[in-house]
Each structure stands twice: as C-alpha cells, then as structure tokens.
Amino acid sequence: MSVPDDLRYSKEHEWVRVNGDVATVGITHFAQEQLGDVVFVELPDQGASVRQFSSLGVVESVKAASDVYAPVSGEIVERNAQVVEKPELVNQEPYGNGWLVKVRLTDTAEVGTLLSPADYRAHIGETAPSGA
C-alpha cells in the first residue's frame, strides 16, 4: 500500500503536498483502489474558494460517485485539466499526474491538523474492509 512519506493526509483519503503557500491535492492510492476504475472527475473552477472538509469535487467509477473533500481551505489556483480529460490518471498516478487541484492556503496551520503518513497508514488499516 503506497503512502508516501512526504505528504499529509485527511481521514477522507485526500493527500496534500505543500509548496510555499500552495498545496497540491489528490486522492490516495488506497482511495483509488477502493473506488475502482475512475471514469469521471469533476473539479471546481479556478478562482473558487474552498473551506477545509467541505466538498471539493466528485470522483466517479462506473458504479459509485464519491465526494472529494478539501483537506485545506483556500483559493483554487489551478485545476488539473489533464485528469478531467483522462480520469484514468487518478488510478495510474494518484500522487503524480493524477493530482486534482492546487489551492493557495488561507491558513497554513490547517496542514498541521492533517494526518501524518504513519497516522494515515493506521487509519486505513482500521477502515480497510477485511478480505477486500
């Protein structure tokens, strides 16, 4: 199970990579695996503002639609146009080209409230359905 050490995580399976005051957001390897083949990604417009833990967009497989929640508050400075065109990137490179949006942080302290890699590993250990 891939949980990179240089990222922070939300309980709802989003990851955050912070660079200065901009955070790149995506969904985790665990999340894409649970979801299955991603067929559609819906993202907010550039310039939209999001609040931490409010709905950021939707990721869909053939048989499920999952809300993606903003792990941090801020303004959307970039949305990944490539992932909208090729939703399979979420499956193939969840931490790379499958990123979803970049957010200019309004409160960098929020990042500290997110899970560490170790905590996230423990979190998905708890919530992973047995035998799945």
């Binding site: 559609f40 819906e42 869909e60 639609a65």
Partner: protein
C-alpha cells in the same frame, strides 16, 4: 385445482416445499404479521376464466366510442396517427415486452441496441447531441427539463410560455412545489424580455395552438441572460421544420406518442428529452452507450449511471427508475419503417389537410383562423359562438371537434383547436365544415368555400 390459474404448483409440490422449509403450512411463515391484521376479507369479486375476462373487457370497450368512429379532430400532444402493421408485430414480441431493465447486458442486447438506435434516430430527428432512453411522457419531461436547468444555473425562476400545452404547464407547477421554484407564465412574445434571472425559458414550437414560433430570438435572449432555452416540440413537425438543435435549444422535450404508440386514453406514452453534449451529466434517466465485450465485439450498456438514483440516491439528477423503454423501441421501429420519406409524408399530409380545412372554414361567415401567423398541422378556429357551445353542438353531431382553447387555459384565446394528421379524411373535413356551417351560420356552406 389452483385458485390462481397461473400457479404451477400441485398440492404435492406444495407439501414437498413446506417439508423442505420445515413448516406445516404457509401460515407458519407469517408470524411477523400482527395476528389481528392477518388474512382480512378483501371483498373482491371471484375469479374469472380467460374467456370470461375477454368478454367482460370487450363489453366495457363496447361502451366507448373509439377515435375514427366519427369525424375526429382532437390532437395536441396525443395524435391519431397511422401505425404500420410491423410496429406491434415486432416491438411487442415477448422477448422485448417481458424483459426487465437491462441490468445484465450480456443477455439484454436486444433491448439495449434497440434503445441505442432510438437515441440515434431521435438525435437525428431533433438535431441534438444526446437523447436519453425515455421519460414517462411529455409533461413530466418538461418538468424534468426545468429541474435540469435549475441545477445547471443555480437559479430557481422558470419562465414558460402560455402557448405551451396547458397539461405541461400544470404538471410543471406541480413539480415546482417540490424544490419551491418560481414559475412565471408569459405570452411567447414576452419570453425574451423575461430572461433576466431565469434558469430557463420554455418555448413550444409549433405551439399548443399550432402556430409556428421563431425560437432563435428566445434562445438568444436566454443565452445572453445566462439562462437555458428549453424547446417543446413534436416529432412529426421536426421532419419538416428546422429542428430544435438548429434553433439554439439547449434542452428539447416532447411527447413521442405519435410515433406508433396507441392513444390508449392517456398512456403509456414516451417522454422525449434531449440536450447538448455539455449538459449530459445533468440529464435525468437512463442512457445507453456503445462499447465492446471481452472478445472485442460491439455491444451496448447502460452508461453514465452515477447520475441515477440507484447510485447517487438523494443526490441523483432525478428519482426516475422505471421509464418507457418499450415505447422507445416502438418509436425506433416506427421511424425505421417510415424512413425519411414516410415520416415527411405523414407530417406533410397533416399540414396540407389542416391548411385546406382552415381555408374552407375561414370562408364561412364569422369564422376566423388563428391570429398569430403561420401554423403547422393544427389551428385555432374562432367563431361568433362561445367555444363550449360550438364544441358541444358538434359533439351532438358526432364530431370530436378538438380542444376548447379558452377553458383549457390559453389566456386571451377562445375557440376550437383543430388537429389534422394523415388519418384525417376528406369526409371528416366535409362533416366539420357542414357542422360549423349549420351551427354558426344556420345555413349551408358558401359556394366559394370548397
């Protein structure tokens, strides 16, 4: 002897099944039902044989006067049209008729491909990008189109023309009670100036009274105000008229009954809904898409299902589940049989007859046709008589003369809405002209009219 003639079980079967379950009677399985509410007497009649049912239904049917028993000019969204013999012979085959929703595509390609073909044929007719697999009927399709526009624009004001079918406007008002939308009704000519703040403008062309409507300025005004243009249309008209996709409509809705479906006193019918590609994620209902199977063979599946209630539940685009799939198959068989020439012929005959009839009626003393310019295959007949008086007098003559515009809720209009189709005969038209002449002018038809 079984009390349900379709029950296959012998008493021996039932005993064996009870023994396998480990109970002595079905009542042992009903323990969860409150004892005092178990096995109530319903007071229903006793069962019948098939011959008795056939005879009973035939006796009920004999008390009705089917369309065509006399001169017939009722129409609007529901039209008396010719149904080719091959339509029921094919579409109502048990393999199509007694299938459920195609949840297992490997063994449901008959339904799935037929519905995909319906989507393709209807897209072509309407010149729209996407058509769904069907809605219940025209009125609820209009309401769903309005809800779709509300979701897409985030606005709650829906502006609808008073020349849209009154049943559609009434249904829209009912639906609007749910999400508490503001429904504004204005004359068609006032749609464009009412676009500000609207989720959509709903225009009908040809309208409920048969008038041809210039949709383009309505669509332009809607788009300039950030609203959508919803066009109500009818399939035969699209064979001859510039189709909605060329007029700027974003969502198109209509009643598909005239495409080979019996009038059947109100249903079941076929709700048509279509939209531009960019709006498909908000389109309600099932959609069939093309794909391939594991061997690379082309096949069809229900697709974009995350819009639907079985996945999104309270966040779905609509609650619709059961649709009108067999009616979509009927429509596709009909369109295939008629082809471009047949469909244009059926539509054209209605237009020709309506114009001929209108000309004869307008030649009568005091009679006037419409008041809003060119019409398609129905028109408003105004006479010096009160509309209801004329209607009832014609009814006594055995003539089904059409709707009464004022009473039906077309503001500022009064008269009969007279519909013609390829089924309208010269004899029927003669009968109407004679009837109106006698009732309105109290004399014979003027020599000039004919």
């Amino acid at each position: 002897m079984n009390r349900n003639p379709y029950s296959p079980h012998t008493e021996a079967d039932r005993r064996e099944m009870l023994a396998a379950i480990g109970v002595s009677s079905v009542d042992d399985l009903l323990g969860a039902i409150p004892a005092d509410a178990r096995r109530p007497a319903l007071g229903l009649p006793a069962g019948m044989s098939e011959a008795e049912v056939q005879s009973h239904l035939a006796s009920l049917a004999a008390r009705d006067r089917p369309a065509g028993a006399g001169p017939f000019f009722l129409g609007g969204p529901v039209q008396r049209r010719y149904i080719p013999a091959a339509v029921p012979a094919l579409a109502y085959r048990g393999e199509f008729l007694t299938a459920y929703t195609p949840y297992q595509p490997e063994i449901s390609q008959g339904t799935l491909q037929s519905v995909f073909e319906y989507q393709s044929l209807m897209s072509e007719l309407l010149a729209m990008d996407v058509v769904n697999s069907s809605m219940y009927e025209g009125a609820s399709a209009v309401a769903e189109a309005a809800l779709m526009a509300v979701r897409l624009t985030g606005r709650k004001r829906v502006v609808v023309a008073t020349e849209v079918y009154y049943q559609y406007r009434e249904t829209l008002r009912t639906y609007a009670r749910g999400p508490e939308l503001e429904i504004v009704e204005v004359a068609t000519r006032d749609l464009a100036p009412s676009a500000a703040g609207a989720a959509c403008l709903i225009v009908q062309h040809p309208d409920a009274l048969g008038t041809l409507v210039d949709v383009r300025p309505v669509a332009d005004a809607a788009h300039a105000a950030g609203a959508l243009c919803v066009q109500v249309t009818e399939p035969h008209a699209c064979a001859l008229l510039e189709p909605p996709g060329k007029l700027g409509a974003d969502i198109v809705v209509g009643e598909g009954q005239p495409l080979g479906i019996p009038m059947s006193f109100g249903g079941p019918y076929l709700g048509i809904i279509a939209c531009r590609d960019a709006l498909v994620r908000q389109l309600p209902g099932r959609i069939v898409g093309e794909t391939r199977d594991a061997n690379g063979t082309r096949g069809f599946v229900n697709t974009l299902q995350t819009r639907e209630q079985h996945i999104r539940r309270e966040k779905a685009t609509s609650n619709i589940c059961t649709n009108e799939a067999i009616a979509a198959i009927v429509a596709s068989v009909y369109l295939a049989l008629m082809g471009p020439r047949g469909l244009r012929a059926a539509a054209g005959l209605g237009v020709e007859r309506a114009h001929r009839l209108a000309e004869r009626l307008s030649a009568l003393e005091g009679c006037r046709i419409g008041d809003e310019g060119p019409f398609f295959d129905r028109f408003l007949l105004a006479t010096p008589l009160d509309e209801r008086t004329l209607h009832d007098a014609l009814e006594l003559d055995g003539i089904e003369a059409g709707g009464v515009a004022g009473a039906d809720g077309y503001p500022g209009r009064s008269g009969l809405v007279v519909q013609c189709t390829e089924m309208t005969t010269e004899a029927e038209m003669d009968a109407l002209v004679r009837g109106v002449t006698r009732i309105v002018t109290g004399s014979g038809e003027k020599a000039a009219a004919g």
